[in-house]
Symmetry: C2
Subunit: 244 residues, 2 copies
DNA sequence: AATCTAGTTGAACGTCCGTTGAATTTCAAC
DNA sequence: GTTGAAATTCAACGGACGTTCAACTAGATT
């Protein structure tokens, strides 16, 4: 899988540090933008290499196949994103060593890196998040690609939320994250639907306004799920995972 | 637009009441399933007509173009869905003429028709909702197709929520609906990601469990957005639309 | 029986698809 | 200046794409 083609062909450019490799990056940029606009199957390799102004064979040379190109686009910005998400989470955990961070702080650490890059990180990031939104809702790629790319970090966040909401059942915790993920991805898809629906009162690209509302919306949702039962059904007995 | 092709060609079958038109329905069924699985561009007309076991030319004959076929698939179940949503809403408004319906009741009237059909309405409905999820998050079709198909009914629901949350600002109301829409569509996309993430604790196809959590999650979210300001900023002054 | 039309068929249209192979260029290391 | 691998170019492969067309069938209307 990682070596690509079917007959000895392998993806190159592991040397040279992968830094400032102009052709590769140009192809990734064009693929990112076009995949986000029209979806994986809606874009041809010729569309991409044409937009990047490189030869059509170079996409296969550098990425093995069209699917390999999609995965490379998906992975390129994920490392930076996951890195900042974890850094923010660790900062929270380190700062409040005595007192666990609040739910709002945790959710903000999860969503703010997206907001910041989509609003101020350049058009590549905007395309990237729109692509993630499409993939997240796609039965074809959603389950596999999202899991592989993000779920390790997501597990860290869910663990932090678990501590912030003691006694919360696991199912409630995961479903609440699922709702957060849906709200988040639709937001960054920026389809413009909400602009029309609201008659211009809301603007898809006013991400700061959305984020300011997304965090309390989801925090309240988490609490609604985790509090309602924690008191009335099973008192504390959650497995044997100690009290704390 | 409604008559299709470029040269006098028009979509037929307005006669005969469009009832029990087997070929049309077979094509729509196959298109619904395949579009949901692989997206609009990921499926060819030959895939669809092959699965429906009809001649290739019949898709263009009945629906004008591939895009026309997508729109027909999208519209076919929308009428029934919008109808039941409105019926439930009207029943709520009629029943509690003295006291306005609660937020939870309104959200349930909006989401329960989806839950019920996806869980117990046959595989066609499941495919339909997965397709809606993909379209909703697609920059290419999302803004146009969702607006045209659903937003008239959505406006009715937002109006009902507006009465249930007096003093809520318009922007908060619409953004909260937007988050609800994102959570809802990702849920019905059933990509299986949450199954892996939760290690089997959550199952994508256990829609009754999800719905039981989606309603309180979103209701709490709505209240969190509408209450925080409703008291501290503008007291009651919402336009001049009378009091009651 | 003749007419008409919606429905269906099979074939073909020109175009684009993802991928590959062989030849050529680039450029750093020796 | 030679060598050798990486990068790039050009052309082509077989096949699939959406759409169209003329011919044909079936069933109702005259």
């Amino acid at each position: 899988m990682t070596t690509g083609g079917k007959r000895g062909r392998r993806t190159p450019a592991r040397r040279s540090g992968a830094r400032s490799h102009p052709t590769r990056e140009r192809i990734l940029d064009a693929a990112e933008r076009l995949f986000a606009q029209r979806g994986f199957h809606g874009v041809s390799i010729r569309d991409i290499t044409g937009a990047a102004d490189v030869d059509v064979a170079l996409a296969n040379y550098h990425f093995g196949s069209k699917q390999g190109l999609l995965e490379a686009v998906f992975a390129r910005r994920a490392e930076e994103l996951n890195g900042e998400r974890l850094a923010r989470l660790d900062a929270l955990l380190a700062a409040g060593r005595r007192k666990a961070p609040t739910l709002e702080e945790i959710i903000d650490a999860f969503t703010h890196p997206l907001l910041d890059r989509s609003a101020r990180g350049g058009p590549g990031w905007k395309s990237y998040f729109a692509l993630v939104a499409e993939v997240n809702n796609s039965p074809e790629f959603g389950g596999v690609l999202m899991t592989r790319t993000f779920d390790q970090v997501v597990q860290r966040f869910i663990e932090a939320i678990r501590r912030a909401l003691p006694g919360c059942e696991e199912r409630d915790l995961y479903w609440a994250y699922h709702f957060l993920s849906g709200a988040l991805t639709l937001t960054f898809a920026e389809t413009g639907r909400i602009d029309k629906l609201s008659g211009g009162v809301c603007r898809s690209n006013d991400l700061d306004s959305v984020h300011e509302r997304l965090v309390p919306f989801c925090a309240a949702g988490f609490r609604a799920l985790c509090v309602r039962k924690g008191r009335t059904r099973k008192p504390p007995a959650r497995r044997s995972k100690a009290a704390r």
